[in-house]
Point group: C2
Chain length 483, copies 2
């Protein structure tokens, strides 16, 4: 139990921060205009009290974290924050079930953006603010995790992104702090910039602030049942939203390096180049396909295609129209786009672009080996040698991903959901995209009508997906609890 | 061009054999009762003449085959045999288009079992015999390929199955010949045994012979539009068919070893154990699910479930009923079962059971490594060390498989097919299963109504899938033609 002290301490600090964020919706709307002011303030007080008790109880204990407890910290922090973030939703004027409150909270914190709410356009503004803030917290949370935790744990090939500061030594700590401050600065600046841009292009203050939060976090929660369809008439807004989504999908530590004088690191990064190329190629193919099949203003059609493609590729999951109606080619395309995700170190989910690049590298290598069995080959990614261990770790991730997709699909279909809903529902949870495919959970639908059991399964999927699966699964493996 | 001499010579021998097989349908039915006797005999003569010319032209040339030409031989032999096997179909009384004749021929030779024919129950018996014989030839063809070619080429992790005889040295040649004779003996014996069993259990001679050919080959062509549904009333036949399908799905070289006195090798083999376990577990789960949802005789329900599950797992693709109606859980289950396939060295297609085992091995290894970063780990499969190279080669295969699935699905949906048809159609071609999912190409439908372009794509997919993808793709890579 003593070993759990540092875990309790760190989570208590996180909860204290969460309680401060809980006051924001009321502050934004104004106490008298906030229908759920009491729910928020009551929850904030409760969570803060708990956090305080946790901190006091573990004050002065050792801060040393055994590797095994790093996993426990990682997972329990995301589970507990989701749980406590659901409290104000549960006590709000929406009369939600525990399941629905938790689902919305998990979907927020993991920046997934699947929703069980409808009637967003008439919903209390404090609730809408809270959903957007949750995604924004989740976004910076995952960026921090990527820098501080995941490479050190060696999850799914992420050792590729270790730096001197991910060593968790006393020497590395100051560097880590500097990097952390840089990341927060970039994240906040981008958010404000995005809000101001939206505002200047015609959104209301309320819409600009909310969508600013959820764009940079590549979250996908909106203030309207139409999602970004509310602004689909403005080509400018579609372009701007696509731009800021892409900003959110690139590795944030590279922005910090650019600011610190390492000019060009962003552009030279293999992840960044591949991701941008993919956005461009897919948008062009999809636009051509649509121009062939549809009539309408070509430029609007281009901006809408760019926006919806970008939104799925960045795992935000906003929609500006019902893209399932673009034809079977587009439908299949969106299915595969849901797997991809953005860059490691960004706010996006998905399998991440670098894993596809590594796989492709192995494939090319095998082609060479088939023809020249004795050739000596070396793998490099961003000028770093890619060891067999990194490849093995990446396969483990990919295999686990497909195994979870199988298990989730079977579980959902067991509860009676049709194949496309089961498959795309599991997929969209694991990749933190948001909408699925089909009539129920597609871009025009929502997750409200699903059975409670399914919502719980998807909650688990969203958190597991957010934490690169292996970090969650290893804790569930029997070996973890031995010795 | 001179390098192509051995390729031409070997293919000529194969075509000469094919021409002999072309006489069989007429021989079985009797010349006067065979409506397409002329088509078959004319084709046989033509193909034999061509083969003779090929053999005479390359007589006395060097027999040495450069590695690069091994790939060319592998691919061109399957393409050319499919092409010539289509000739009698094209000239038959069915009035087929070139596309349809070729599709049926490729589907036969690759033991896929997708069909563009309907009205099988009234079709000329010589045509039905020819389809069954094609699958039977394809079955022994792939067993031979597995022993003689694929491990030597190092395709998709198959180096794991190299033996002394796969070295292609002069010393290894006698061993290879003995093994080859053993394989033919086992294959023929199993086929005759299967036919006699079917006959004894109530099938007509015609049905027993045809289904005997296509069961051992795990092919899936039938003599009825109902497929094995024609015999669904007989629990005994369902059990027997399942048994012989499983026989066809195990590694044939192990049967030869058993006969040669190495008792127990079959049962000790990790592939065999995993495959049998999978059949049992999936059948039990699916039967339980059905017992819960359906009424009817439990034993019949069990035998039908066993048969249809086995049929998809062995990539035969027979159906005894419309299993898509068993409920969404079964539907999703059959989708995933289509990926698996049987054992390497059998007549089955699919990704093959050993690749899942290797992936799972890597996953378990990673779990250990996450908890004990300094642990020294060794991988073993069937008492053989599994090198990083074998793992890399397996990833290359898996990545190529998924890339082909993506490309095929996009291509099919481009021609207007719905998502489930596009996805399952590509999948069923790549894994050589046979039927897809959905209303069009599901177990109760067929491939007749698909656009010609789609049929050509699927033909390519069936051959590429049959040859473990990489052997085909490497020839299409620019590097192959350099130097």
């Amino acid at each position: 139990m003593k070993d759990l002290s540092p875990v309790t301490f760190i989570i208590s600090i996180m909860l204290a921060l969460l309680s401060v964020f809980m006051i924001l919706p009321v502050a934004f709307v104004g106490f008298t205009d906030s229908p759920n002011a009491e729910a928020f303030l009551f929850s904030a007080t409760g969570v803060f009290t708990l956090a305080l008790i946790g901190m006091l109880m573990t004050r002065g204990h050792s801060r040393y974290l055994k590797p095994r407890y790093m996993f426990i910290l990682t997972i329990s922090s995301w589970f507990l924050i989701s749980l406590f973030a659901a409290v104000p939703l549960y006590f709000s004027d929406l009369n939600l079930s525990v399941t629905d409150a938790l689902f919305e909270s998990v979907s927020g914190i993991t920046t997934t953006g699947s929703t069980v709410f409808s009637g967003l356009d008439e919903m209390s503004p404090d609730i809408l603010y809270w959903r957007s803030i949750l995604q924004w917290i989740g976004g910076i949370g995952i960026i921090g995790m990527f820098v501080a935790v995941l490479p050190a744990l060696g999850i799914g090939g992420m050792r590729l992104f270790t730096t001197e500061s991910s060593e968790w030594t006393d020497k590395a700590l100051p560097r880590m702090k500097t990097l952390g401050r840089g990341l927060v600065f970039v994240y906040v600046s981008f958010t404000i910039l995005c809000m101001l841009t939206y505002l200047a292009s015609g959104m209301s203050v309320f819409d600009a602030v909310n969508h600013g939060f959820t764009t940079i976090a590549t979250g996908g929660f909106s203030t309207s049942d139409q999602s970004m369809g509310k602004f689909a008439d403005s080509n400018l807004l579609m372009l701007e939203a696509s731009f800021f989504l892409i900003l959110g999908a690139l590795p944030f530590f590279l922005y910090v390096r650019e600011i610190n004088g390492q000019h060009g690191v962003l552009w030279r990064d293999q992840q960044v180049r591949a991701f941008l190329l993919l956005v461009i190629v897919v948008t062009l193919i999809m636009t051509t396909y649509r121009l062939w099949n549809e009539t309408g203003d070509p430029f609007s059609l281009f901006t809408a295609t760019l926006f919806n493609v970008t939104s799925i590729l960045t795992t935000a999951g906003f929609a500006s129209e019902e893209y399932q109606l673009w034809g079977p080619f587009a439908f299949a395309g969106f299915f595969f786009l849901m797997f991809v995700g953005g860059c490691s170190g960004s706010t996006t989910g998905g399998m991440k672009i670098f894993r596809f690049q590594l796989s492709f590298m192995v494939l090319r290598e095998q082609f060479k080996r088939l023809l020249h069995p004795r050739a000596v080959l070396t793998r490099k990614y961003n000028d770093r040698a890619v060891s067999d261990e990194i490849i093995a770790s990446m396969i483990a991730y990919a295999f686990m991903f497909l195994a979870c997709l199988l298990a989730g699909t079977m579980a959902l279909s067991f509860f009676g959901l049709d194949f496309i809903t089961s498959l795309s529902g599991t997929l969209t949870a694991l990749t933190n995209v948001g909408p699925g495919l089909g009539d129920t959970i597609g871009p025009a639908g929502n997750f409200q009508s699903l059975p409670d059991e399914v919502k719980w399964i998807l909650c688990f999927g969203m958190i597991a997906g957010r934490l690169e699966l292996l970090s969650v699964m290893v804790v569930l493996s029997p070996g973890f609890w031995k010795g």
